[in-house]
Amino acid sequence: MIDVLFFAELQEIVGNEKVSVEADGITVTELKNNLLSTYNLDNLSNAMVAVNQEYAQADATLKKGDVVAFIPPVSGG
């Protein structure tokens, strides 16, 4: 299982900060598509993805124990 974190608008739509999903061995893009079929997340494609607190490319492969975070466009400062 892999923990997936949501922030800002995504968190409100999902209704959770964190969900656990079966995603060992799939890519970031595949996880994104899986989540798009589960939740009504129009903005997900707009989000960056971090794996273990570092920005990741779309073709990165996930493994057990990874923490994936969807990072909508940031607005700090």
């Binding site: 409100e12 707009n46 990741a56 975070a69 466009p73 940031v74 607005s75 700090g76």
Partner: protein
Amino acid sequence: MNNNFWITDKPIQINECIDKVVRAEAGAVNTFIGTVREFTKGKRTLYLEYQAYKEMAEKKLSQIGEEINDKWNDAETAIVHRVGQLDISDIAVVIAVSTPHRNDSFEASRYAIERIKEIVPIWKKEHWEDGTKWIGDQKEQTTYIPSEEDLRND
């Protein structure tokens, strides 16, 4: 180094951030303070809510400090960003950069605030009289995944 970069849910004490960078080798400290502005394009903000992916945000703030070290000679940086509900005029972020000479302190401080707006996972939600909105994608900006090369050339 790492304790120079942190996220807090308490009111920010400006001096706490500045004190981390004042030192005998530096003659200049530039500080940028971001506060909650009441009006944006004529629309009145009641208050803001900031959220962060805390662990990663602190890591990315620290990365900005390292980028500054690569770009400017003998700079020391501290950055604190607040999360939670912030009222008008409350401080959201403080950046302090000390350098031997003043030009570098201005440039590095400016660089830090621009980088915060690019790579640090912090979000703000506007609360207006007639609604709320998470800010960030209004400009239809493309997503930004900084490569190693970007970081070097930026």
